[in-house]
């Protein structure tokens, strides 16, 4: 009898404890999956800054966890599953290659909210978000076209995905606009982060005559290579990379994820989270333009800032016609503006670019 009472009270106690535990789950747990190390000085560094901003803004209400250097593809599913099993309420997957894994894992954990960066697949518990980096690329292209003396601009591309192709097109259109003789040399590095390879690619471009090097990879290695060469202009990618200012780094595209991350985490806490598609640019502040250094002539700097202001207030769109595709077919008529659908799936070069996009 006593034993039964004991067992019963133990069971009640356990049940209570279990209930208390469930109620005590007050901290909202936010997970981040990173493609590179948080110290890469570029892409992942900025996402991690966003994570820290969430912690700072929401304090004790949240707990954040992150895993760095997660390979894109199936291996990332393992990391996401672990995060979900560990009780994450919201998981940010911060690279394009996590798209299908995010959708797969989100289907298995319907109560966990997912946010996938730069992708285009959504579900009831999967939002997507991205920044209109191409707006910054347009400004870069303008400065690059004005600054180049050899008329050869090198471009270190990562993977042939719409986001990267959009960047190449936006930069080329605006470089060619101010300098019709400009030529783009594009190297596909097939990596987001590999400093040695990025440095090699930058050197190969410089040896082939490029005096401006744009990069869509995450490390600062191309900046170092340009600095060594001495007369080559670069731009910070994803982060300010200000340690290479004022030269070779003359400006930068800065991703500012903090406001978005804070807003989305708050939405989960308040229970107002919904699956959405966010694509913000310079106007709302998701894309920042790093300080244009004095190495850029004053008039060019002024033009660049004017373009920035026009893009921010919506009076200018970087993809405004007349524009043709690489094969000479018409894309946008005079004054026509590209729609988001075409931009999101962009898989063609504009007229004037040479070479083929790897398929």
């Amino acid at each position: 009898m006593k034993l039964i009472t004991l067992l019963a009270s133990a069971a009640v106690a356990l049940g209570l404890a279990g209930g208390a535990y469930a109620d005590g789950h007050e901290k909202t747990k936010v997970g981040f999956v990173f493609v590179g190390p948080i110290g890469d000085g570029g892409w992942t560094y900025e996402h991690n800054k966003g994570r820290l901003a969430v912690e700072e803004a929401l304090g004790d209400a949240v707990e954040t966890v992150y895993v760095e250097n997660v390979a894109e593809g199936p291996d990332s599913e393992r990391v996401m599953t672990q995060m979900a099993l560990d009780g994450a309420d919201l998981i940010f997957t911060t690279s394009f290659g996590y798209m299908d894994p995010t959708i797969n894992i989100a289907a298995k954990f319907p109560d966990v909210k997912f946010e996938h960066a730069t992708g285009y697949k959504r579900a009831d518990n999967v939002s997507t978000y991205s920044a209109r980096f191409y707006e910054g690329r347009a400004i870069q292209g303008h400065i690059a076209g004005k600054m180049t003396k050899s008329n050869i601009i090198g471009y270190i591309a990562s993977y042939p995905i719409p986001e990267v192709i959009r960047g190449i097109n936006a930069a080329y259109i605006h470089a060619a606009k101010v300098n019709p003789d400009v030529e783009f040399k594009i190297i596909w590095a097939y990596t987001w982060f590999d400093p040695a390879k990025e440095a090699d690619a930058a050197r190969a471009l410089i040896e082939q005559g490029a005096d401006v090097v744009l990069q869509h990879t995450d490390s600062t290695a191309p900046q170092a290579a340009a600095q060594e060469a001495g007369n080559v202009v670069t731009f910070g990618q994803a982060s300010d990379m200000g340690q290479y200012a004022p030269f070779p780094r003359v400006s930068s595209i800065i991703d500012d994820w903090a406001p978005y991350y804070i807003a989305r985490t708050k939405a989960v806490i308040d229970g107002t989270w919904e699956s959405t598609d966010t694509w913000d640019g310079i106007g709302p502040g998701m894309v920042g333009i790093g300080e244009i250094s004095d190495a850029v002539p004053a008039d060019v700097k002024e033009e660049a800032l004017a373009m920035k202001a026009a893009i921010a207030d919506g009076s200018y769109h970087p993809f405004t016609g007349p524009l043709k595709k690489q094969d000479g077919s018409d894309w946008l008529a005079d004054g026509e503006v590209a729609d988001d659908g075409t931009l999101a799936g962009m898989n063609f070069y504009v007229e004037g670019l040479t070479g083929e996009i790897p398929q």
Partner: protein
């Protein structure tokens, strides 16, 4: 497509520099494996060497001191591996993998203060008038000292293994550790020294990336070079000159494919990107048709009582 934009002299000079980290690490691993130990921790030792070398070079202002520190750092980490596998008799594969993970984590910790710092530059060797010889000058006489050290190391390892008593003992330990033990050689001691040599070489290879090739510190910056070095040792049939050939081939085709892309050659980029791996493997596999086999005791645990 315009191949004339590729300057073959600059290309060859660049490939020698690109190949040096792989060459250093692979030469060290070759000695380790010839002694019968399989150390999969090359990547970890390289990255630790990269940050040790970088940090010391920044603090002292001397890149050469940095390289010495990198060698010491790599050797210290490899000593941990030696402790696990030679004294505690742990599994070599697992210990090696653990060493890589540990090295990556430790280097990230050590390197936190060094992100974005610029290291002192190592000047090129001064060969005086030799550097002015057309074609040969820029290719052979315009590099940093460590690159020449790498080549000298290959020659030294080759000569030592082939012609000296030390080399013979090392190979005996690697081929059959029981027999070597029966002859009175200190198997564990010899292997520990070989492992430390491998660690020192890998450390310098890592520092070559952080101090000369990139040059800066970023977490995880070796990005898999250690694994390529490991594979290279196997494909080179554990022979020093073939390691040199493989490293130059790999470095060369990597550089060439970047240059071809820049020149807009109409070969699909995917083929160009995989070409360094494929061509290096094919060439070394053809070369290894002479039935050279792995060291007999490779990867096996030794204990005197067995």
């Amino acid at each position: 497509m315009d191949l004339s934009v590729i300057n073959p002299i600059l290309l060859i000079a660049a490939l020698m520099s690109a190949a040096t980290p792989i060459l250093l690490a692979a030469t060290g691993e070759l000695v380790v494996e010839r002694a019968g130990v399989l150390n999969l921790g090359v990547e970890g030792m390289m990255i630790l060497g990269a940050i040790c070398g970088f940090a010391i070079a920044v603090e002292t202002g001397s890149p050469l001191t940095g390289f010495v520190a990198a060698a010491i750092g790599g050797a210290m980490l490899s000593l941990l591996f030696a402790l696990l596998t030679q004294v505690a008799l742990a599994n070599q594969v697992a210990s090696g993998l653990a060493l890589t993970l540990f090295g990556l984590g430790l280097s990230a910790l050590l390197g936190q203060r060094y992100v974005g710092v610029k290291p002192p530059r190592m000047g090129d060797m001064n060969f005086g008038p030799l550097a002015d010889i057309p074609v040969l000058g820029p290719i052979l006489f315009s590099h940093d000292p460590i690159l020449y050290l790498g080549i000298a190391l290959v020659a030294a390892v080759w000569a030592t293994l082939k012609y000296t008593r030390v080399g013979l003992i090392l190979r005996a330990v690697g081929e059959n550790h029981d027999a070597a033990h029966a002859l009175g050689y200190k198997v564990v001691r010899i292997r520990t020294l070989a492992i430390m040599f491998g660690g020192a070489c890998a450390g310098m290879g890592g520092a070559y990336i952080s101090l000369i090739r990139v040059p800066q510190w970023t977490e995880g910056m070796t990005a898999g070079v250690g694994w390529i070095a490991l594979a290279l040792v196997v494909f080179a049939s554990w022979k020093p000159w073939r390691v040199l050939l493989g490293a130059y081939l790999f470095g060369g085709i990597t550089q060439l494919q970047l240059n071809l892309q820049g020149a807009g050659v109409a070969i699909p980029v995917e083929y160009l990107a995989m070409s360094p791996y494929i061509i290096t493997i094919v060439v070394l596999v053809i070369l290894s048709a002479d039935k050279s086999a792995a060291p007999g005791s490779l990867g096996r645990t030794f204990h005197a009582s067995h």
